[in-house]
């Protein structure tokens, strides 16, 4: 209150506000201006997630490890599913990493707009930031669980090929594209139709069965393969297994199908989200 703080020296830009028609442009410039908000939202999500818990960040490890143990007992021990010669715990845990990322995006991302409705109705910021930061917050859990995978791989003496250094980041990118695409669609739909909230538990469960997490995609007969890989997560999980464990044949037509679907979901999701964005504050 003492000194008169000056108005920023740069020439102010003029913004025109008018009813938008048709397809809205993506407006990546605004997203760039608000990049710090993405960082803060991710930071807040991570920070708040384990507040007032006894075990704190350990939950990021406990959840996938427990799932891995249950899967190992049921599918590895009792049902003895084929794993292409890889010890079942490593086989399952490798798939649980991208799957965990995807589930976070599915659950947190889809609810992100509705959960922050006070922000949406009061303040302008690119709404894309909300589902985006939910997905990025999932990456922190991913990184923690990844340490456990490295330990498991040492224990079972599984060595990845040298090309893991560039194949894994590519498949991680594909996982993020898929997760973000689905989060964009569902979060935007959720603003108007809260049916999404009801459908999420079922959708998550169904999607898990449709993805080769507990089993190998090689159990699917050849004539159904292409149809099976219309599920983009199937491509992501197989890619992770191939990059880290060397299982399967590596990138082939099935990966192409999955990756194409992933990109289609993301691009269409971006446009759908942007076209609905202007109504968010009124309908939420």
């Amino acid at each position: 209150m003492t000194q008169l703080s000056k108005v920023p020296a740069h020439e102010p830009t003029t913004i025109y506000i008018k009813p938008s028609k048709g397809l809205a442009a993506l407006n990546l410039r605004d997203l760039w201006i608000y990049r710090e908000l993405i960082f803060f939202m991710v930071w807040r999500d991570v920070k708040v997630k384990y507040k007032q818990t006894l075990l704190g960040m350990a939950w990021a490890v406990i959840q996938p490890v427990m799932t891995m143990l249950i899967f190992s007992f049921l599918f590895g021990g009792v049902a003895k599913l084929p794993t292409d010669g890889i010890p079942y715990p490593v086989f399952a845990f490798t798939a649980l990493l991208p799957w965990g990322l995807f589930v976070t995006a599915l659950n947190q991302g889809s609810r992100s707009l509705v959960a922050h409705n006070n922000m949406v109705t009061k303040i302008y910021f690119p709404r894309l930031i909300l589902p985006m930061s939910s997905v990025f917050a999932g990456l922190v859990d991913f990184a923690i669980a990844f340490v456990i995978l490295i330990i498991l791989m040492f224990y079972y003496k599984v060595t990845p090929a040298w090309n893991v250094l560039w194949t894994l980041p590519l498949f991680l990118l594909l996982a993020i594209i898929t997760a973000l695409g689905v989060a964009l669609w569902l979060s935007a739909i959720n603003v108007q139709y809260r049916d999404v909230n009801q459908a999420l538990p079922f959708l998550t469960q169904f999607w898990l069965f449709a993805t080769p997490v507990a089993y190998s995609s090689s159990v699917i007969s050849a004539k159904w393969q292409i149809l099976y890989f219309l599920n983009p997560m199937a491509g992501v999980v197989n890619g992770f297994r191939w990059a880290l464990l060397g299982s399967g044949n590596g990138p082939d037509v099935t990966l192409f199908v999955s990756a194409t679907i992933s990109i289609l979901i993301l691009v269409s999701g971006l446009f759908y989200f942007r076209s609905m964005e202007k109504t968010f504050a009124d309908t939420i």
Binding site: V7, K51, I123, T283
Partner: protein, 282 residues
């Protein structure tokens, strides 16, 4: 002088809720049914039997409002509840789009539509200052440099590392207002945020708003507190049922608003010896 805000014939139409439009909920089922019946409806509309429902479910929250505001001016907006004040501010701060009309805004708009937006109860006061600052559009460096000032202003120095869920509601609001008050956009949009804290703190808030106005920022100020409007603004507009009734010097606008019977509980509180215009007749 350059024009900071130019509003041209804007209007905002809202749908009235389900109560008006019997048994219509926004469910997927209805949308599917609507889609199925769409050809019937279109056919009806084409032969002239237009669906009446179409017009009945909408209301204009704001209609045909136009004004220009020069840089560095402070404009008050008065009107009863539901007059369209908040809708106008929401359009100017790009929270929602107008249904018709255009607005051009020169510079960054900071809005204090409600303080404490984005505050998370589990985070500490310190963490919330950064979070809230970022939400309001401040850069991290900017928050760093103003951090001490914000804490001082909020008077919660002692509890700055305590989760805000442990704060009293007064402390919570003071911290929230403190962050918002240290925003430095070219245009500041303020909606009824001065009803925060005790009398002492309110005085401080008014002082801060006065400072902001003197720094050459353009301010749009909505309040039901007529003495605050009179003290902080030179010019005001009166809104009623979405339409702009008048614009003029604050004194005239407030008189018009209070005398036209729009204000149900017209209240004017002058602090002792500080009545405006020197017309202390009481």
């Amino acid at each position: 002088m350059t024009t900071a805000i130019s509003v041209k014939n804007i209007g905002k139409q809202y749908k009235i809720g389900a109560a008006e439009s019997k048994f219509r909920y926004n469910m997927l089922r209805d949308v599917i049914m609507d889609t199925v019946y769409a050809p019937v409806r279109i056919a009806k509309a084409m032969i002239g039997k237009s669906d009446r429902r179409q017009n009945q479910n909408y209301v204009w929250a704001l209609k045909d409002v136009s004004f220009d505001l020069e840089e560095g001016k402070v404009l008050g907006i008065v009107g009863r509840n539901g007059a369209g004040k908040s809708t106008l501010l929401k359009i100017l701060s790009r929270v929602t789009e107008p249904t018709v009309g255009t607005v051009s805004v020169r510079g960054r708009v900071g809005s204090l539509l409600e303080v404490g937006t984005g505050f998370h109860p589990e985070l500490t006061g310190r963490e919330n200052i950064y979070m809230n600052g970022a939400i309001l559009g401040m850069r991290r460096a900017e928050i760093d440099s103003k951090f001490d000032e914000i804490v001082d202003f909020s008077e919660v120095t002692q509890y700055i590392d305590t989760p805000v869920k442990r704060y009293s509601s007064g402390m919570y609001l003071r911290l929230a207002f403190a962050v918002a008050a240290h925003l430095e956009p070219e245009i500041l949009v303020v909606d009824e945020v001065l009803a925060v804290g005790d009398a002492e703190f309110q005085k401080k808030c008014l002082g801060k708003m006065g400072d902001v106005a003197q720094q050459g920022r353009t301010v749009l100020f909505v309040s039901h507190n007529m003495s605050a409007i009179l003290r902080l603004t030179q010019e005001a507009i009166v809104l009623n049922k979405g339409q702009m009734l008048m614009r003029g010097p604050t004194q005239e606008a407030v008189d018009f608003y209070l005398s036209s019977g729009q204000a149900q509980a017209g209240e004017r509180i002058w602090e002792y010896g500080r009545c405006p215009g020197g017309e202390c007749s009481i």
